[in-house]
């Protein structure tokens, strides 16, 4: 069933590929000509009048801080050492692993772009999917970005909900996964239904095998990461608060894009 739906979405989007390219020049309109509410809002965003209200509500702060502490331990005692050991694998190979799974999850981005009527984006993601699958050796190489200059654009169901004016809801720290919100955590679940990784590739796997796959992906991701968490932890007075502020703003910006 899902294959059919996906195929239909794919078909509808191929038509928009041309549109995607046709629209590109328009995006570089000189800004001085664009005067709208956004323009004024950007300037009025001066913080001075704003009271010290939080950027995201956090009624479960105690619990969240508990999970944050747990994730911190898991990171330093489990995932980080594993990632460090795994760095023995040459970087290009690790990048290819990351590219492969990123390409595999293209349907998630295509579906969510479509749900937000961002047909040009959906078209671009569809193009990327074909280019990378065929020319990029089944997704190991991000050929579309490297040679076609079509970069990936993240879209997920959390953003789709945001597009339909669903607020983030309370802040949540998910075990192993980190900062999220009620909306975005729900989005993760929804996205898993469009992700070939869950609905196809690991369909017949048991729970443990799925967890192993996720853990492997996490280690691969961390092996490519440049100690971002360590840096935040070292530099901020309270990493929990700092990451919460960062997450809230980052997601708002993602929805706006």
């Amino acid at each position: 069933m899902w294959q059919i739906i996906f195929f239909l979405i794919l078909l509808t989007n191929i038509g928009f590929v041309d549109l995607a390219f046709a629209q590109q020049p328009e995006q570089s309109t000189p800004a001085s000509e664009v005067h709208g509410s956004d323009f004024d809002q950007d300037f009025d965003d001066d913080f001075m009048e704003e009271d010290s209200a939080q950027l995201i509500s956090d009624p479960f702060e105690k619990l969240n801080r508990g999970v944050f502490w747990f994730n911190d331990k898991v990171y330093f005692y489990l995932f980080k050492p594993a990632a460090r050991a795994y760095r023995i694998v040459p970087r290009p190979a690790r990048t290819s692993v990351s590219n492969f799974f990123s390409n595999l999850s293209s349907p998630v981005r295509i579906v969510n772009s479509t749900l937000q009527f961002k047909f040009a984006d959906a078209g671009r993601e569809t193009t990327r999917f074909f280019v990378n699958s065929i020319i990029g050796l089944g997704g190991l190489v991000d050929a579309a970005d490297r040679w076609g200059e079509i970069p990936k654009k993240d879209e997920d169901f959390g953003q789709t909900l945001g597009f339909y004016h669903v607020g983030q809801g309370p802040y949540l720290i998910l075990p192993f996964l980190g900062p999220s919100s009620l909306r975005d955590a729900g989005g993760l679940v929804a996205d898993s239904f469009f992700d070939p990784l869950t609905i196809h590739l690991s369909r017949n796997w048991n729970f443990l095998e799925r967890m192993e796959l996720r853990a492997g992906l996490a280690v691969n991701f961390l092996s490519l990461d440049d100690d971002s968490y360590e840096k935040i932890k070292r530099d901020s007075l309270d990493p929990y608060l700092f990451m919460r502020a960062g997450y809230a703003q980052y997601r708002v910006a993602k929805v706006a894009k």
Binding site: M48, D226, L237, D238, K254
Partner: protein, 192 residues
Amino acid sequence: MRLLFILLIMLFGSPAYAASSTPQGQIKQMVDGVFAVLNSDRSPEEKRTHISGTVQDFLGVKSLSQRTLGVYWKKGTEAELKQFMSLYVQILERTYLNRIENYSGGKVEYVKERIKANKAILDTKFVSSKFDIPVRYKLIEKAGVWQIYDVVIEGVSLVRSYRSSYNEILRKEGFDGLINRMEEKLVQMKKG
């Protein structure tokens, strides 16, 4: 003789800003300065001091601190605010100078500049082989000089982030609590 004098003043009157009184001109001057230092063959410690000097010329420390403290700016005594500003700049420096060394390979593209009265928003993009990062500078004009009062990286505002966490600490622990914590943090950061 007087004419010569006027000419000299016109030519050399305000050397730093005469040629770059637009926001973009000024940010470009700063960015070029930083890259020049990064790509020079000075020692890391020397580089850091040089960059710190370059960046501070363009930073509106007071505007930045004012916006970070928000409603608490009016509540602090002059001494507290002074101490806060000094600590804040040091923390920001320690935070970002440690990271900047990774970025010597990239270049900055200037996307668009918007000016409204005494404020300006400059959108730039940091481009390197690995990633593109949109960086937005918010500037305010003070006495003919454009000063940075916020930097927004991928939609995350520096001021907003610090403000959100600092205000919560201020609410719970007051100015003393915040300043103590900042001092402790700095000691920690200096140790490496």
